[in-house]
């Protein structure tokens, strides 16, 4: 359900910012910019302003090294004393989470690079210089991470930082941070993405090396775009591995953050000091469907009014982020996770050549209307763990144009594990077509062929089902036919889907968790959170689905929920929000 489809009137604000002193140091969500205030004030300020259990501290490379070969870790400036920060956190009974940027960081000047390394501005896929507007209205320009000097300096920095951690007995967790923006038309975009001259030169060297090793050259724009993606991922992994090895015992993992208000569309709006708060609310929810942690730290406090802040607190800080931070240490934690019925492998974007994503064949636009935010778009390099196979309440979508060897094998393994897989064969390589035919033949699988708006092949193996369709033909259909097509296709699968008739302008988000020992009547607890970022009062009725019982109404703010037999009557004032827990049984 994107904004244009919802027919919302965007709430655009244009006012002069009046920043509070703390806004610069505490941009929200438990983040603390230690370099923006005197070390002598750290304790008092943290005591006064830091509410949650965690203090999220992004490490500011340029603050610790102006020259790249000399570093200041508590040597000269007291504000570089990270050990002191950890001691204060301990005194305040808080947990410090250090974030180490592994890509340009949109909340830091020069994307976090020391001044002397900020040489070649990064350029996005459209050819626009990469930048983000910070909460105080300043422009943070991003510089290329594909410059070998940047990588060498990063290596020195992580080495020195890790040494300092070890020397000073810092025992806090370090997480790698990858930064993304979210565009409602194009999905999540990494700030690592670069098409500057430095990137193109290093990519040319990569192609040359590849040609010498494998003897092949990219054929066509799409293949070149895929190779650029592959090359970008290779360099990303270099930065990641470097940091992981430097910090070894302190290293906790990788966090992918999506910074709300940092897409190119937002940047142009924000250059004129305009903000669209309803859109930010929508983007925050969509970011989670891209498996990225949404953050509002780039937004000024005045635009983070009730709904956006509540979304951030309810859905991100006490749920989504908690889950990410626990994933490595507490697998059994029963926090709510986003409810996912549809899992996609990310498509390929190339503004200048072709677009091969899930908007083109109409499935994502359909789901955005019918089952908003119950999908998850995985990055192309995502590799499931063994225990992730065999999910029965999920459909998996793969796009022919962006399949590689690894994804192809994951797709077949899913099918063989009894999962339901849909493959759009648009631009599916000849090699994969052949492999599929061999796979069907070797396993004596019967291929049923159906013609409904496009050619569809249906293959079953035990519980597993593989549906292969030609997405290219779907492009010719109008919106109504396309929606009908996807409705019919999805109905052929048995899923515990809940369709709600919610008025335009109200956003809702489903989460789920297993029932605990006190809730054995239920199999699963689903939490429905409703938000009204519009300026209008909304009154509507929700039909409680079959085999589902209302357990409780929570966090009602400017909202009322009145239970009726099999229904809930909901009244939401502007900026209102409320959640309901529903127990689900077979």
């Amino acid at each position: 359900m994107n904004l244009s489809q919802q027919g919302q009137v965007p709430k655009v604000s244009l006012t002069t910012p009046v920043p509070r002193d703390e806004d610069g140091t505490f941009p929200g969500e438990g983040w603390f910019y230690y370099w923006k205030t005197s070390a002598s004030l750290w304790k008092g300020k943290l005591q006064e302003n830091q509410k949650g259990p965690n203090i999220i501290v992004p490490l500011n490379w340029s603050f610790h090294s102006e020259t790249g070969d000399k570093f200041d870790f508590a040597d000269h400036r007291p504000e570089t004393d990270l050990k002191k920060l950890c001691v204060i956190a301990e005194q305040l009974n808080k947990r410090i989470i250090f974030l180490l940027a592994l890509s340009p960081a949109p909340f830091l000047p020069n994307g976090g690079l020391p001044h002397f390394l900020a040489r070649t501005m990064a350029v996005n896929e459209d050819g626009l210089g990469s930048m983000a507007v910070d909460a105080d209205g300043s422009f943070n320009k991003m510089y290329s991470f594909f410059d070998s000097r940047v990588y060498q300096a990063f290596t020195r920095f992580t080495h020195e930082l890790a040494q300092y951690f070890s020397r000073s007995g810092i025992n806090a967790d370090v997480w790698g941070l990858r930064s993304f923006s979210y565009c409602r038309f194009r999905g999540a975009r990494s700030f690592m993405t670069d098409r500057s001259i430095v990137f193109e030169q290093s990519f040319a060297r990569y192609l040359k090396a590849r040609k010498e090793e494998k003897g092949d050259v990219p054929e066509g724009a799409l293949e070149e775009e895929l190779l650029k993606l592959e090359y970008t991922q290779t360099i990303e992994r270099l930065y990641l591995e470097n940091a992981r090895q430097s910090f070894s015992a302190h290293w906790e993992g990788l966090l992918n953050y999506c910074f709300i208000g940092s897409s190119q569309e937002d940047t142009f709006m924000r250059m004129g000091n305009l903000h669209n708060e309803s859109k930010y609310s929508f983007d925050l929810l969509e970011s989670m469907t891209q498996d990225r942690i949404p953050s509002t730290v780039l937004l000024p406090a005045r635009v983070k009014r009730s709904v956006l802040t509540r979304q951030s607190e309810d859905l991100v800080m006490s749920s989504f982020l908690t889950e990410k931070l626990q994933s490595y240490e507490d697998e059994e934690a029963t926090v709510f996770s986003p409810l996912v019925h549809f899992e996609f492998m990310e498509g390929v974007h190339s503004a200048r050549k072709a677009r091969h994503d899930w908007g083109v064949n109409g499935v994502l636009p359909y789901l955005r209307i019918a089952y908003p935010f119950t999908y998850l778009i995985r990055p192309q390099d995502y590799k499931p763990r063994e225990e992730d196979y065999g999910q029965s309440d999920r459909l998996y979508f793969y796009m022919g144009s962006s399949l590689n060897q690894s994804n192809f094998h994951i797709m077949l393994k899913r099918f063989m594990s009894g999962e339901r897989v849909l493959l759009d064969r648009t631009y599916l390589g000849e090699e994969f077509e052949k492999k599929l035919q061999i796979f069907f033949h070797e396993n004596s699988l019967k291929v049923e062929r159906v013609n409904f708006q496009t050619s569809i092949e249906n293959i079953t193996l035990g519980e597993g089902r593989l549906v292969i369709f030609d997405g290219e033909k779907l492009k010719e259909l109008d919106e109504a036919k396309l929606f009908n097509f996807w409705q019919r296709v999805i109905e052929t699968f048995t899923l515990k889907l809940i369709s709600l008739d919610i008025p335009q302008g109200v956003l809702y988000f489903w989460r789920t968790r297993p029932a605990n020992a006190h809730e054995l009547t239920y199999e699963e607890i689903r939490r429905l959170s409703l938000y009204n970022p519009s300026s209008y009062k909304k009154k509507f009725t929700i039909t409680v689905p079959k085999n589902t019982v209302l357990m409780k109404v929570i966090d009602a703010d400017r909202s009322e929920v009145t239970p009726r037999p099999s229904q809930l009557e909901v009244l939401m004032l502007p900026e209102g929000s409320v959640s309901v827990d529903l127990g689900s049984f077979s």
């Binding site: 050819g127 320009k141 038309f185 190119q264 709006m269 250059m271 004129g272 000091n273």
Partner: protein, 128 residues
């Protein structure tokens, strides 16, 4: 003080001229308003798959005509058309938003709105 509107455009053989963004130092357009203006006021078929950008403008002359109408709608004194290179150069060479806007206003191709009142079109209704 002169009220400037800035338009960033690019050109490539497949998408012809593309408008990447239109903004003022204190104001601008959201994508819906810009797309509606092109679709409804200018009769330009907006390609949904190119959003948030407006693509498919066939010539620089056509781009200038659209730009001039945008300028009239917003009752700006002038609109400055800046290529991707102009825009990127302004970003590279300037650190503060003030310097950036000053740089933009001194570069690119400028179209003056010579005193004519803005129209009563879509953007006028939305933004006044």
């Amino acid at each position: 003080m002169m009220k400037n509107l800035f338009l960033i455009y690019g050109h490539n053989p497949q998408l012809n001229y593309t408008i990447y963004g239109v903004f003022e130092p204190h104001g601008g357009f959201d994508t819906e308003a810009l797309a509606s203006f092109f679709q409804e006021e200018r009769g330009h078929q907006v390609n949904p798959s190119s959003l948030p950008y407006i693509s498919g403008i066939l010539s620089f002359e056509e781009l200038k005509n659209h730009a001039f109408e945008l300028c009239r709608e917003r009752r700006c004194d002038r609109i400055v058309l800046l290529s991707l290179d102009d825009y990127n150069q302004a970003l590279e060479e300037n650190s503060s938003p003030e310097e950036f806007f000053k740089h933009l206003s001194l570069n690119g191709e400028s179209l003056e709105n010579l005193g004519e009142e803005g129209s009563k079109g879509l953007l006028g209704k939305l933004f006044r």
